[in-house]
């Protein structure tokens, strides 16, 4: 009964989404405020309906209702409750429901925080989101229904893939989807602006916080996925340039470009056409990511063997959304105007260069990801594009972008001068260069890449410091604390996010430069050394988990004769799918991780063992979280809060925008 309620809620949601997608947009076009007023209640109703469906599926999982095909396929009666609930997004159908649910959640948020928007804009935004939602609901109801019954019911479920039975599974997909789907708001803003033909600075100011929130979620989502791969796959890597990872990284690159381009549109009224294109691009890449990951064209833990009808549906949907919005763009964008003029050497110019580099990098990732699929589709042979390709294309494109990242925030808008910038930045440059050259020597291993990575990281930090110092001389206040407090939060947000990049670069550079890895055979009582650490293997014990049995190894790790830690890596066997899983044991630290994973038992209690010493690896994820924190700081800025508090859709916002443009 409960699954039928869920199914019915989805059908109702589709009807509501159709109404929401058609009436308000039409109403906005003909100026009928009665039709426009439909948008808000429709969006909220749709949210409640999809929430109901989501709740029904959750209930079916909690209740172990194996008469639902999807529940029987992805869970098991022995699976603990939190993993049963996470199994909602453990495969194709449920993750689409999650996607749709998050889409309606964003819609609901738009209805809450859009009091200050003109009615036409709001109804267009909600209408566009409604149309996107129509696509996904239709998809679920036609080819991918999570509530499909299995008659007769299975006695026992097939279980969730053991790889996915991890706390990472509980949190990584929702975060990632919050990011993916969050770009739909920026997309809807862009389409609404194209439809209305009014792309002013106010438009950019409204869509900025939404884009930043989505970007923060995506950043955290990607970082969580990377960290999960690091400890769960047992290979010690944190990024594999796997197509699935690329699928989430491409929207991130486009989204990062969008965040910066929106800043220019907001502050200077420039880049309008480009910003709109980026908004379309970011969301299109999110859809493409969903298609790549969930359609089964790629082989990975994320892909599920699915029927080709689904792939075709998503492909057609993709073509309609991307093709439609690009056609609208081509039709309307020329009317928008280019915005203010500026010199090549100016903050705008540098942000534009940064944008171009980010998009070029995104394009290279896109090419490397899709090229093998194209060749395969055309039957020209099977190839794969490995990490070396991405490393050798991505790094050279990012180096100038990161270098500009240091200068950009210090350059004046409109026109900057080289001698002035050089004067202000000479100390920062000197300090970065000298420390980047000497630090690796002090650490005992100089390579050009190591110095380059440190140079970029220190350059970001020092230029941020210069920027902050200059800023402090311009703000009012007597004491330093007072002046620090009066620096706007959006500026702090930028500094923090940029320093997050620096932390990230330090992590990547140090791991690449100093990591050590060893595959060894270890007998009981034998020791092996890696870095300054000695690992002693004390044999394995059998342990029993809730739905698995495991051999748990004991490793005493010592340094200079003193014990550092004891690590317990496991080799688990999940009987339901008869699958073996390696659970690595990690001793994390600010300056290094120690990582042990069990290979295979050999004889007499001996095992093949993989040992890693990974300096600074946690800085990689730390950097990502700092970036997201920067984004969160930026959106807590006063001006957004003021905008949200203003309930009435009134005149001040547009007039202010006009004044700004005149000035």
């Amino acid at each position: 009964m409960i699954p039928e309620i869920g199914h019915f809620a989805l059908i109702l949601a589709l009807c509501v989404a159709l109404v929401q997608g058609i009436l308000p947009i039409y109403g906005a076009a003909v100026g009928n405020s009665g039709l426009m007023a439909v948008a808000k209640p429709a969006a909220r109703t749709q949210f409640l309906l999809v929430l109901t469906a989501f709740g029904c599926l959750a209930y079916a999982f909690a209740d172990k209702d194996f008469s639902v095909l999807y529940v029987a396929a992805t869970s098991n009666s022995q699976l603990p409750l939190h993993y049963r609930l996470a199994a909602i997004w453990g495969a194709h159908e449920g993750s689409l429901l999650l996607w749709t649910f998050i889409l309606t959640l964003w819609m609901f948020a738009v209805t809450l925080f859009s009091g200050h928007l003109p009615e036409t804009t709001r109804s267009r935004i909600l209408g566009v989101m409604g149309l996107v939602s129509v696509g996904f609901l239709l998809f679920m109801l036609t080819v991918s229904n999570p509530f499909e019954r299995l008659i007769p019911a299975a006695a026992e479920g097939r279980d969730l893939n053991p790889l996915l039975q991890d706390p990472g599974m509980v949190i990584h997909p929702p975060m990632l989807y919050m990011g993916y789907v969050g770009f739909s708001v920026a997309f809807a803003f862009a389409i609404a602006a194209l439809l209305g033909g009014n792309l002013d600075a106010a438009w950019a100011r409204w869509s900025r916080p939404w884009t930043t929130v989505a970007w923060c979620f995506l950043t955290v989502g990607i970082a969580l996925g990377s960290g999960w791969a690091y400890y769960e796959l047992g290979w010690g890597g944190w990024w594999f340039w796997d197509p699935v990872e690329n699928a989430s990284f491409m929207p991130w690159l486009a989204g990062t470009a969008l965040v910066h381009s929106l800043a220019v549109t907001d502050k200077r009224g420039g880049f309008k056409v480009w910003t709109v294109l980026l908004a379309i691009m970011a969301f299109s890449l999110s859809l493409l990511g969903t298609f790549l990951v969930r359609s089964g064209v790629l082989t990975s833990v994320h892909a599920f063997a699915t029927d080709p009808k689904r792939g075709l549906f998503i492909l057609v949907f993709l073509a309609i959304v991307i093709g439609g919005s690009l056609a609208l763009y081509a039709w309307r964008a020329p009317k928008v105007g280019l915005g203010g003029s500026f010199a090549m050497l100016s903050r705008e110019g540098m942000l534009l260069a940064n944008n171009v580099l980010l998009v070029a990098a995104m394009g290279s990732v896109l090419l490397g990801t899709l090229y093998p699929l194209f060749l395969d589709a055309l039957d020209l042979g099977k190839i794969s594009v490995g990490p070396p390709y991405f490393d050798s294309v991505f790094v050279p494109l990012m180096v100038p972008a990161i270098f500009l990242m240091g200068i950009g925030p210090l350059a004046q808008w409109k026109k900057a001068s080289v001698p002035d910038l050089a004067k202000r930045l000479k100390w920062a440059f000197g300090v970065s260069l000298v420390s980047a050259l000497t630090l690796p020597i002090v650490m005992g291993n100089w390579t050009p890449l190591l110095s380059l990575g440190l140079l970029l990281a220190i350059w970001i930090v020092t230029t941020s410091a210069v920027g902050l110092r200059e800023r402090l001389t311009h703000v009012n206040g007597n004491s330093l604390v007072e002046r620090l407090a009066s620096v706007p939060r959006s500026y702090w947000g930028m500094l923090v996010a940029h320093c997050g990049i620096a932390v990230f670069i330090v992590g990547v550079t140090m791991v690449k430069g100093f990591e050590t890895e060893k595959d060894v055979r270890m007998n009981v009582g034998e020791t092996a050394s890696i870095g300054d650490y000695t690992f002693r293997f004390d044999g394995t014990q059998d342990v029993v988990g809730p739905n698995y049995t495991a051999a748990r190894g004991t490793f005493h790790v010592s340094r200079d004769g003193r014990e550092t830690t004891v690590l317990y890596p496991e080799k688990r066997r999940y009987p339901v799918q008869n699958q073996i899983m390696t659970e690595a044991a990690i001793d994390p630290g600010l300056l290094r991780d120690l990582y042990v994973s069990l290979g295979e038992p050999i004889d007499d209690g001996a095992w093949s063992v993989r040992l890693y010493h990974k300096p600074f690896i946690d800085w990689i994820w730390g950097g990502c979280f700092i970036m997201a924190l920067g984004g969160a700081l930026a959106i807590s800025d006063r001006r957004y809060r003021l905008a949200w508090r203003r309930q009435e859709p009134v005149v001040p916002v547009p007039t202010r925008a006009v004044r700004r443009k005149v000035a």
């Binding site: 082989t299 010199a343 394009g363 595959d519």
Partner: protein
Amino acid sequence: MKPRHKRFAFIGLGLLVLGVATVLILNAFQSNLVFFFTPTQVVSGEAPQGRSFRIGGMVEDGSLVRENDGLTVHFIVTDTAKRLPVTYKGILPDLFKEGKGAVAQGQLGVDGTFVASEVLAKHDENYMPPEVAEALAKAKASGAQQSKSLVVPDGRKGSL
């Protein structure tokens, strides 16, 4: 600068970045594309010598042999038509099993043994990488004689 000149400058900048990106991409493509071959193709000499490529097929039941160092393993990959011996030193991924599909990357040794530098743990829930499924289908379609060891293509049979 006049607006027109400026536009040219911007377009030039864009083209420059595009050009550099293209050069980088072509360069990287040239040296980093990894091609995929089936055991039949490798045995019949279609695969290149001295260049890294990928193979895929089923790991033959009972073919896994471990050397005394505990790390070097030998096994046979088959597409049911031809058998290809593979050597690998290192820890095999969890999802590697006899009688299941596997993909390996490496080079062909002079003695016709494939020396794998990496054994890939990727596959879908049916234990069948698409490359492998296709290799098997191809071998079947060419009507080649089935080798003796029977593999279970749907991969659902537990072998642990």
